[in-house]
């Protein structure tokens, strides 16, 4: 019998108006990979923050290696051997790996000694990483390695990982899993937070499932089907997305010879991109983020302008048009970054609705805003896209990731765009919200629209797309019929090679 490393007894935590955690108890054994599962808003983050010392429980207690444990701040938790890799990395682009790691340490050693240590750790755990490289030039997977190594240098007993695979390629996931198994073999414990049920079934020894702040169950994932686990999480069964028909109509969006030289030092230039999307078609653009995805979205949304004829809607050149002119023509976009790009964090939902809404009944020709109509529009979005928010006057930042994403997508889809471009539609979103978003994208396509889905989640692309292309290093592959592709093919495409398949 393995010994218990961390024990939680009746942990409760409330915020004004919300019970984030109620009477949660479970144990994590040494050398165990323990999954913490739940929808967004189920209370996972709150729970983990208490273990990591960012918050303190209202009720209940924790014991670490049989001793009472109540960290008042993260540094105390770290001293007790708890480390955490956050979903959003806190790294400085303009510094190199070793400098970034030194910044997070209380008493950093000399940078050369530290670099040596980093190399040792990275070698022994199979996490290749050059300490001298600039973080801005690293892929998402490599950035995550920086965070993991930062944790491992503290030699933790328990490593908490929040949604670690959401930004990784299949290969990077494999590398990560090897590392996690190695850590487990050394007797370290891992608390693994994720929505991806298949992953959890592959790597986790035990799973605790939360719903609405309460523990609703636990299981050994290997012996439980993904469907069963999913139903425990959601409390009901949800169907996977489906669509009515797949009939393509006329060519709606055509992009030819699109090249953009990025002004951003850490951006990726686009070179000679060609593709087209038809009515009823969903084109999936795969590839790891940072390969030109943001640049492609801004070229299509109108944030970045090009020569007129590179982008066409129904043979109408729009490359020079501003975002609102494109919206008038029926082209709408939803960027990846929810807070700060797709929505203004401190502004209310009503004000955020106004961001992409400027028709006559919203803003009259004197520039006066009709807030009654904006409120109506916001109500519709919240109702039809099941956005959970106390009021329409809540700030965008107060919504959970999944709810805000539903809002951002709903805001555009309710305008019935002819062409809809979306970047990472379900990034960091819980399973139920993700299924909902995918279904609404499918519905949009079946109602005479063309959709471009840029995503690094290959499962998602396989689930909803008709055609598929890969964006690597600013270049786009040919488009292929998704039904003819296997995941091996996709791997090859991501490596930059063309396939000998019938083009779509």
């Amino acid at each position: 019998m393995a010994e218990v490393l961390l024990q939680l007894n009746g942990i409760s935590k409330s915020f004004p108006g919300v019970k984030a955690n109620e009477n949660i108890s479970f144990e994590i054994n040494s050398g165990e990979i323990h999954a913490l599962l739940g929808e967004n808003g189920a209370g996972k983050s709150t729970l983990v923050k208490m273990i990591y010392g960012l918050m303190q429980p209202d009720l209940g207690n924790m014991r670490l290696s049989s001793e009472s444990f109540r960290p008042s701040e993260p540094s105390k938790a770290r001293q007790s051997g708890i480390a955490m890799v956050f979903q959003h990395f806190s790294l400085f682009d303009a510094l190199n790996v070793a400098e970034n790691i030194a910044l997070g340490m209380e008493n950093p050693p000399k940078i050369n000694d530290l670099s040596e240590k980093i190399e040792n750790v990275s070698k022994s755990y199979g996490l290749p990483l050059d300490p001298k490289r600039l973080v801005g030039q690293l892929s998402a997977g490599e950035r995550q390695r920086v965070e993991i190594i930062r944790c491992l240098l503290q030699n933790p007993k328990l490593l908490i990982m929040d949604e670690p695979t959401s930004v990784l390629t299949p290969n990077e996931v494999k590398t990560l899993f090897e590392t996690l198994l190695r850590l487990k073999k050394e007797g370290k414990s891992i608390l693994y937070i994720s929505h991806k049920l298949e992953e959890i079934r592959e790597i986790c020894d035990f799973a605790t499932i939360l719903r609405n702040g309460e523990k609703v169950g636990s299981c050994i994932p290997k012996n439980t089907s993904a469907k069963q686990i999913g139903e425990m999480m959601v409390g009901k069964s949800f169907s996977s997305p489906s669509r009515e028909n797949r009939v393509f109509g006329e060519k709606l969006l055509k992009v030819s010879n699109l090249s953009i030289h990025t002004k951003d030092f850490f951006g990726t230039s686009l070179s000679n991109i060609n593709f087209s999307v038809h009515v009823g078609e969903i084109l999936g653009i795969g590839g790891v983020a940072g390969n030109g995805q943001d640049e492609l979205l801004s070229a299509l949304s109108g944030e970045e302008k090009t020569s007129p004829s590179t982008i066409n809607i129904l043979n109408h050149p729009i490359g020079k048009l501003a975002p609102n002119e494109r919206r008038d023509l029926g082209l709408r976009a939803a960027p990846e970054e929810r807070l700060g790009h797709a929505a203004a964090p401190s502004m209310t939902l009503i004000e955020n609705t106004l961001m992409t809404s400027h028709s006559e009944d919203i803003v009259n020709r004197w520039g006066i805003i009709n807030f009654d109509n904006v409120t109506e529009e916001t109500k519709d979005i919240v109702a039809e896209f099941d956005v959970r928010t106390p009021t329409l006057d809540n700030a965008a930042a107060s919504l959970s990731g999944g709810n805000l994403q539903k809002f951002v997508i709903g805001r555009e889809i309710l305008k019935k765009p002819r062409v809809f471009v979306v970047n990472q539609p379900t990034w960091g979103v819980d399973a139920a919200a993700a299924a909902f978003i995918r279904q609404s994208i499918l519905n949009l396509a079946s109602h005479d629209s063309a959709v471009v889905v840029i995503s690094q989640d290959l499962d998602e692309l396989f689930e909803i797309c008709d055609t598929f292309a890969v964006l690597t290093n600013g270049r786009l592959s040919k488009s292929y019929d998704m039904r003819n592709l296997s995941s091996e093919d996709v791997g090859l495409l991501m490596g930059g090679s063309d396939l000998d398949l019938k083009n779509s």
């Binding site: 501003a322 975002p323 929505a343 203004a344 964090p345 401190s346 961001m355 520039g367």
Partner: protein, 361 residues
């Protein structure tokens, strides 16, 4: 143990309460300071009363001080409203003082050029010229920022010193009073009826500039609550990337915000030079352009807040003068009092973003 916990959203209650608490704390600690300075703690209350109460309600002072309150607050409010438009968009016009000076020079030039013709169109033309002067002066940092990505804080601030030199030059040269026996300074516009920014109601201090300041408060409210431009300004300040995605052109926002703040500062300058100051002199400007920055923040960039903050700031000026005169308090102690106001505001501000949690250990 007491600790601070970040609020999930900014507390509206505290946003309104903190300025009031800050004023109260300033009175308490300011009084304490005055008491210590005078060597008699019992006189602390008297000193505070002399600054905050007597200018308005003591029969010896009120007849002079009440009109002065509007005279001093008017330009400060007008400038601060303009600045708040830019500050909300994250555009930092620090050079309102320069725009104020240029507005005064432009506006006064119209009058001095037309002297001694009399016409009801002269004063409106002066207002337009004053607005234009401030507008152009503010456009320089705006255009440089748009085309060359220069920092508007530095450029607008440095243009203040350029403006001061221009002011010194014209008051001794171009605009000097030909009948002034060679002394620097222009003709006094108070003696030129068509150009004089006279009081609308006698002995109220209410001149056209004060009226314009009140109007600007109302217009600013309308701009931010109802108008698309105000929304664009706010979102540009809150989330520039989101603003860009929403189709808002950042260059246009910069030009609009800088232009508007320059325009209002220029008008303030004209009203001052054609009214209370009367003539262009090397030192007719009294630092209102800088004081307005404090007032804009003290008023939380909110039009009504700025109105109140402007009146309060004017009160400390006037009350401060009285206190210096009556109690012999040093001038620096009045500046300390104004500094305290900003200090306590920033200190109590923490409650808008954090809540206090007391916990047993």
């Amino acid at each position: 143990m007491i600790r601070l916990e970040k609020r999930r959203s900014i507390s509206k209650l505290w946003t309104t309460l903190t300025p009031i608490i800050a004023v109260f704390l300033t009175m308490v600690f300011g009084g304490l300071m005055f008491g210590l300075l005078l060597g008699d703690l019992a006189s602390a209350f008297g000193a505070i009363k002399l600054i905050f109460w007597d200018p308005l309600f003591d029969e010896n002072f009120a007849s002079y001080s009440r009109p002065q309150l509007l005279v001093k607050a008017g330009p400060i409010i007008l400038i601060a409203i303009g600045l708040s438009i830019g500050f909300k968009a994250g555009i930092w016009n620090i050079g309102a003082e320069g725009q104020y000076i240029l507005g005064a020079i432009f506006g006064a030039s119209v009058a001095l050029g037309l002297f001694p013709h009399e016409s009801i169109f002269i004063f409106p033309a002066m207002i337009l010229a004053g607005a234009l002067g401030g507008f152009i002066w503010a456009l320089i940092p705006a255009v440089l920022k748009v085309y060359f990505k220069t920092n508007e804080i530095l450029v607008s601030l440095m243009l203040v010193y350029v403006a001061e030199n221009i002011l010194a030059s014209v008051s001794q040269g171009l605009l000097r009073n030909p009948d002034g026996m060679g002394l620097p300074g222009s003709r006094n516009l108070k003696n030129y009826p068509s150009a004089h920014n006279s009081e609308i109601i006698a002995n109220s201090g209410m001149h056209w500039g004060v009226l314009t300041a009140f109007l600007s408060v109302i217009l600013a409210y309308f701009l931010f609550l109802k108008h698309q431009k105000g929304y664009e300004i706010r979102i540009s300040g809150e989330a520039p990337k989101a603003a860009y995605f929403a189709g808002i052109n950042p260059s246009k926002t910069i030009i609009f915000c800088m232009g508007m703040s320059g325009l209002l500062a220029g008008m303030a300058g004209l009203f001052e030079v054609a009214g209370p100051a009367g003539q262009i002199t090397m030192s007719f400007n009294s630092g209102y352009g800088f004081t307005a920055i404090i007032v804009a923040f003290l008023g939380r960039l909110d039009p009504l807040g700025i109105l109140l903050a402007g009146l309060l700031m004017a009160l400390t000026y006037i009350g401060g003068e009285i206190a210096q005169l009556m109690l012999g308090l040093p001038g620096a102690s009045i500046q300390l009092l104004q500094g305290m106001l900003l200090f306590f505001l920033l200190a109590t501000d923490i409650f808008t973003n954090y809540r206090i949690k007391s916990k047993g250990s």
